[in-house]
Amino acid sequence: MSFSFRRSFAITKRVFRGMRHDRRTVGLIVVAPLLSMFIFGIAFSGNVTNVDTVIVNLDEGYLAGRIISNLDEDTLDIRFADSEAKAVAEVENGDAWAAIVFPEGFTTNVLAKLEDGSFVGDTTIGVRADKSNVNIAAEVLRTVRDAMTQTISETGRESPVSIGDRPVYGEGVEFIDFFVPGIMAFAVFQLTTLLTLLSFVGERTSGTLERLRASPVRESEIVAGYAMAFGVIGMLQASLLLIVATLVFKITIVGNPFLAYIIVALLAVVSVSLGILLSSAAKREAQAVQFIPFIVLPTFLLAGIFWPVEAIPSILRPLSYLIPPSYAVEAMRSVILRGWGLGDIWIEIVALLGFALVFLVASVKSLQRATG
C-alpha cells in the first residue's frame, strides 16, 4: 500500500474538526502571537524618556546655555542645582539619574581651544550618572553628546569629518519592523511544537494512536496529515500577524509576503515533527509540560528574535545554528525587510528543509508499527 493523500487528509481534517469544539486552543493560536507582538513590540520599541536630571551650570558664557537648550526634553526631565555636591546628592539618594555639570569658564575655554588646540583649560561637561541602569545612563550620555554636536555646529564650526548614512536596506526601519518577522517564527515554532506534542501525548495515552496504527493508515500519512494542518494554521497566524502589524504598527514590508508564508509553513512542518518526536519521550501530559522550557527558552534567547545572532557570545553561537527558528527568523527578515527572493535565502531554506527531513524521518520512525 502506497502513501494515500486521502488518508493523510483525513488526519488533517481531524485536527481542524477538533478545533471546532476547542475554543481554548483556537484562542491560543490566534491570541498568543498577537499578544506576544503587542507586548514585546510596545515594550521593546519604547524610547527612554523622562529621565530625572539635575544640571549645574557654572558657565558665565552662552555655550552651556545653548547646549542645555538643545538637550532632548523628551528624554530628560531637567531641573537645576547651584552646586555639584547638591546635584550629586540627588543622584545618590535616588531622586535623579544623572547630574550634568558645566564648569566655570566653559564657554571661554571651549572657544579658546577651538582657536588653539594646545590650550589647556577645563572644557569637560561632567556627567555623574547612576549607572546601575546602563540603558538610562547610556541614554543620558547620548543626549548630552547630541546636544553638544548640534551646538558646535550652530556656532558654524562643522567637524571636518561627517558620516553619510544612506542605508542599503531598511530605510526607515524601526525596532518593531525588525521584531515582527522574529515573533512570527517564534509564535509558529512554539505553538506548533507544543500543540503537536500535547496532541500526540493525548493520542498515545487515549489509545487513538494504537487504533490508528492498527488501521491501514501509514505513519508517514499521520505525520503528513498533522504537518498539513499545522502548516495551514502557521500561515494563518502569519497572515494575522502581518495584517495587524501593518495596520497597527505600520511595519515596513519590502518583500513578497507569500515567500514569508512558505518559510512559516516549512517551519511548521519542522515543528510538527519535533513535537511528535518529543511526545515519544513523554508518557503523560504532565511530563510533556516539562519540555516547554526546553522549547521556549533556546528559541527565545538564541534564535535572533530580539537581538541578532551576531550579538550572541561566540561560545553559544553554534547553538543558534542548531535551532531551526534561527534560519526562519533570518530568512523572514531578509524577505520582509530586504525584499530578498528565493535565490537569496536558499541557504536558510535548505537548512529548514534539512531539519524538516531529519525530524520527519525520525518522527515517522517513532510511530512505526512492529512489522509489515
Binding site: 500500500m1 487515549s206 493508515v217 512492529a370
Partner: protein
C-alpha cells in the same frame, strides 16, 4: 508465507514476548478458524492484551511466528480486513460521534456514502442515533464504549480483535454487546476477544485459558468444564492453575 484464504484466521507458532526478564507470552500455539468467536480468557497480567497487540502488529514478538488472515501479523495489507477495539476508549474526545466515525471510515478507504450508510446502521444498533452530533467528551463511559465498538466495525472487517470489550460496561449493555457479537459470527466474521469475566465466556465458540503467558487449556467452554469435571469455567481455571497447566485438552 503467502496469503491463503484456506488458512486459519489467526495462527501462532511458539509465539513469545519478553520484557527484559519477564515473559509476557510464553511459546503460544494458537489456531483460530474463520468464523469463530474465540475468547482469550485469563486473569489480569496473563498476557491477553499482549497477544492481541502482537496480532495487530502493534508490538513486535520476541520469538515465534504469528499469522493473520494468511499473512504475517502486522502486515499492512491485512489491516483493511481487520478491526481493532483497544482496551481504552480510544476515541477523539474533542470530536463528535459522527466525526470520529467519519475519520475511521475515511482511513479505511470508505466512500462518504458508505460511511453514512454504515454509520446510520451502527448508531441505530448502539442506540446513540440522537448523540450523533455530540462531542465524545459529553458522553458517559458506557456510551463511549459503544461508539468505540462502532468505530471498529464501520468498515465491515472480516476479523475483529476486541480487547476487553465489556470492561466497565453495565450488564444490560454487556448483554447487547454479546448479542451483536453473536450476530457477527452468523455473518461469518471472526471475532477474537479478551476478557477476564469467566461467566461471559460461554458466548464464545472456543476459548483459550491463559495463565502467566501460557495457554493452559483450549476448547469449547463445555469441553473445558467437562474435562476438568467442574461446573463453571472459573472452577476449571482454578483447578487447572493448581495443577500447573496442561497444554491441550
Amino acid at each position: 508465507m503467502a496469503s491463503d484464504e484456506t488458512r486459519p484466521a489467526v495462527e501462532t507458532r511458539r509465539l513469545v514476548k519478553k520484557y527484559g526478564a519477564f515473559t509476557a507470552v510464553d511459546h503460544l500455539d494458537l489456531k483460530i478458524a474463520r468464523g469463530e468467536t474465540y475468547g482469550l480468557l485469563g486473569p489480569n497480567g496473563s498476557g491477553k492484551t499482549t497477544i492481541v497487540k502482537m496480532l495487530c502488529g502493534l508490538i513486535k514478538p520476541t520469538g515465534g511466528e504469528a499469522f493473520v488472515l494468511g499473512s504475517n501479523a502486522g502486515a499492512r495489507s491485512v489491516a483493511p480486513r481487520t478491526g481493532y477495539m483497544p482496551q481504552e476508549t480510544a476515541l477523539y474526545l474533542d470530536l463528535t460521534v459522527h466525526d470520529n466515525m467519519s475519520l475511521f471510515g475515511e482511513i479505511y478507504g470508505m466512500s462518504k456514502t458508505d460511511i453514512e450508510r454504515e454509520e446510520a446502521s451502527l448508531l441505530k444498533f448502539i442506540d446513540l442515533e440522537r448523540w450523533r452530533n455530540s462531542t465524545v467528551t459529553n458522553l458517559s463511559g458506557g456510551m463511549r464504549h459503544r461508539v468505540s465498538l462502532a468505530c471498529s466495525l464501520l468498515h465491515g472487517p472480516e476479523l475483529l480483535f476486541l480487547d476487553e470489550p465489556t470492561v466497565g460496561v453495565d450488564p444490560e449493555l454487556r448483554a447487547s454487546f454479546w448479542s451483536y457479537f453473536d450476530a457477527l459470527r452468523e455473518r461469518g466474521v471472526t471475532v477474537v476477544l479478551t476478557t477476564h469475566y469467566m461467566d461471559e465466556a460461554h458466548h464464545c465458540s472456543r476459548i483459550g485459558l491463559l495463565r502467566d503467558g501460557q495457554l493452559i487449556a483450549e476448547g469449547s467452554p463445555r469441553e473445558i468444564t467437562e474435562s476438568v469435571g467442574v461446573e463453571s469455567l472459573e472452577a476449571a481455571f482454578l483447578a487447572l492453575a493448581r495443577r500447573g497447566g496442561g497444554r491441550e485438552l
